[in-house]
Symmetry: C2
Subunit: 376 residues, 2 copies
């Protein structure tokens, strides 16, 4: 993996760059649609590539490890071959899901023991076997195995948790360096900065990670219950320290406004289930604000879903039609909302990149941020 | 509406024709995907037009009358404008749904009184108001309001039911002739032959309907529980009598084999929920047989879903991937299976048309019918 830092905003820490992987290039800042189980929910691969213009998608290690399982993924020749997405893929490390989805979970020095939420079967994730699993899935970017500390954790817990995450990181790096991709292309490993909302822990974590000289670095454990201002503060603390010549990935974030603020603070990569999950619940993000498509007010609004939108759904279908589809529980409603929201998120980061390059990022952000946050 | 009978098979009653409506032409024999609530489930309009190559779709009067309701449809300028499907649309008359979905239904000479399955509200469908409703929906082809007699009805019930359907037909025709399309294009009205499995009733019904000189005629009340051989026998009885120079529509049928047999017996138009509903349940129809995608045997079959299929999904995704999507309940599974099955049904009738024109329909049917019926 290669990262070229192409532009630095003179007014802020915003940056534009280019990541090159064996499955193609990624222009940053970028948003990565979440394909938890090997599919972005309700979206066909050609729609993802051509209409939404996604450049990289996520897969979730926890889910893919359970189903279809490593045997199938290995026989397929990795996730790209399995799901027909031939551009870059990033996998998380499963740690977050073990703590949010799995049953009977128990943390030890060795790793995390848990029972599958699918069939109750018992499993263990360790730094070593998670590296092996991500090798088998075959993502272009692999994430280190960590404990995602809750946003409201006490200092003493957050510190103990960070200690463990740091020991696990060393084990991840060792195993990663001892192994190779099973399918002949290159994979990169990103460590994850934890430390909850405590500046000194975040600082220490960022310094430790900076010393590892990884190909890219991630900020985890944010947008997990802490106040938004705390999140922005932690991003600032961390990005002071993380190497400027490596991409920075803010995990699991967030609203359009969160993304614009984080870009201004030097973040390059994002993922979030919000555009797809909220879309399936009828919430549409647009340049002019947020629409609840179940609202009666759209019942006879025959204007396009989003006259300024970039997706084919935006001008093909009307608000009244989409509202009807939601009210009568048609699957097509979920498809339309998911495509629209993802296309909007990809438009947003592309536009951000344009303005970073044009040198007016902060002005543009100020001009748009109230609009994208407004409830319509 | 215009119907041009283009080819008659010399070996059988199979025919190829061309229907012309104000929303475009339809080559027969044709299969019409079902868009119950104004959307074909899990399928985008451009997929329906370009990938599946549907030439006409159905809307269900009962559902559309309840939601979005006539006010919205009228304000939209009819169903075509509302759902962005600009090719021909056919609407059923709601009779079948009143008897299969609605609550507290009661049949009188006047019409059918029922309570909505959505909110329990009370409604009446009469021959007159159903004509008005179909005018407001704005389908190119409207169906007469009838009672769909159950497949296992006693003779005396079937006869009484047919008497009512015939009186209702006259009221439908009167109302239809007194009214006009609200949107400026032409609409046609198709009467429906009932009579259960009783040849004399079917004959009488067909003769009565033939005398009405409608622009097309339908055969209803089949594939509703009677033996398949009875269905074929009824089609033969009816098609002896129905005018040859008008399209014949067999309502709600059926399996690929049913369609091939009915084409051989002179049917031109079909609709059925089978490709979409069975698809959503994991059943795929192909040229080589029927696949249950949930079956373990596909778990590591990395071959295309259908190497001979005409849809983009057929060669883009593998059987193993589609099986995985079904097992983990991904919406994309429903999308893929629905598109595949509809594309297969449209391929089947297009291929049938080709062979009618080539003069070898019956031979071709014999060569394919065991294959399409086989469980793989």
């Amino acid at each position: 993996m290669k990262f070229e830092l192409q532009y630095n905003d003179s007014q802020s820490n915003a940056r534009a760059g280019l990541i090159t992987t064996d499955h193609g290039q990624i222009e940053t800042p970028i948003f990565m649609p979440v394909g938890t189980q090997g599919a972005v929910k309700a979206v066909h691969m050609p729609e993802l590539e051509k209409d939404i213009q996604a450049q990289i998608i996520l897969g979730n290690t926890y889910h893919l490890y359970l189903r279809p399982g490593l045997d199938i993924l290995r026989q397929a020749g990795g996730l790209h071959k399995f799901n027909s997405w031939n551009k870059p893929i990033l996998t998380d490390s499963g740690g977050f899901q073990v703590f949010s989805l799995a049953h009977n979970r128990k943390l030890t020095e060795e790793g995390a023991i848990f029972r599958s939420h699918v069939d109750g079967s018992k499993h263990i994730f360790t730094p070593e076997n998670v590296m092996d699993i991500e090798r088998t899935i075959g993502a272009d970017i692999m994430m280190a195995f960590d404990e995602c500390t809750p946003g409201d954790a006490e200092y003493s817990y957050a510190k103990k948790s960070l200690d463990l995450t740091e020991r696990w990181l060393d084990r991840c790096i060792t195993r990663f360096n001892e192994t190779e991709c099973e399918y002949g292309y290159k994979q990169a490993l990103f460590p994850i900065v934890q430390g909850c909302v405590y500046p000194d822990l975040r600082k220490r974590a960022a310094e430790n990670i900076a010393s590892k000289e990884a190909e890219g670095n991630a900020i985890g454990g944010l947008a997990v219950g802490e106040p938004t201002e705390k999140m922005y503060e932690m991003i600032e603390v961390v990005n002071e320290i993380l190497p400027k010549d490596k991409p920075r990935y803010l995990m699991g974030v967030g609203t359009p406004a969160n993304i614009l603020e984080a870009i201004e603070r030097g973040v390059d990569m994002f993922d979030c289930i919000m555009p797809t999950r909220n879309g399936r619940n009828g919430q549409l993000f647009t340049r002019r604000g947020i629409l609840n498509m179940r609202n009666k007010k759209w019942a006879n609004d025959f204007n396009p879903i989003d006259a300024e939108g970039t997706s084919f759904v935006d001008t093909l279908y009307s608000k009244a039609y989409l509202r009807h589809l939601f009210i009568v529980n048609e699957i097509l409603a979920l498809q339309i909302a998911s495509i629209h929201n993802l296309a909007f998120y990809l438009w947003l980061v592309k536009e951000a990149r344009k303005h970073i390059i044009a040198g007016d990022y902060s002005n543009w952000k100020r001009s748009i941020i109230d609009d994208v946050t407004r409830r319509l």
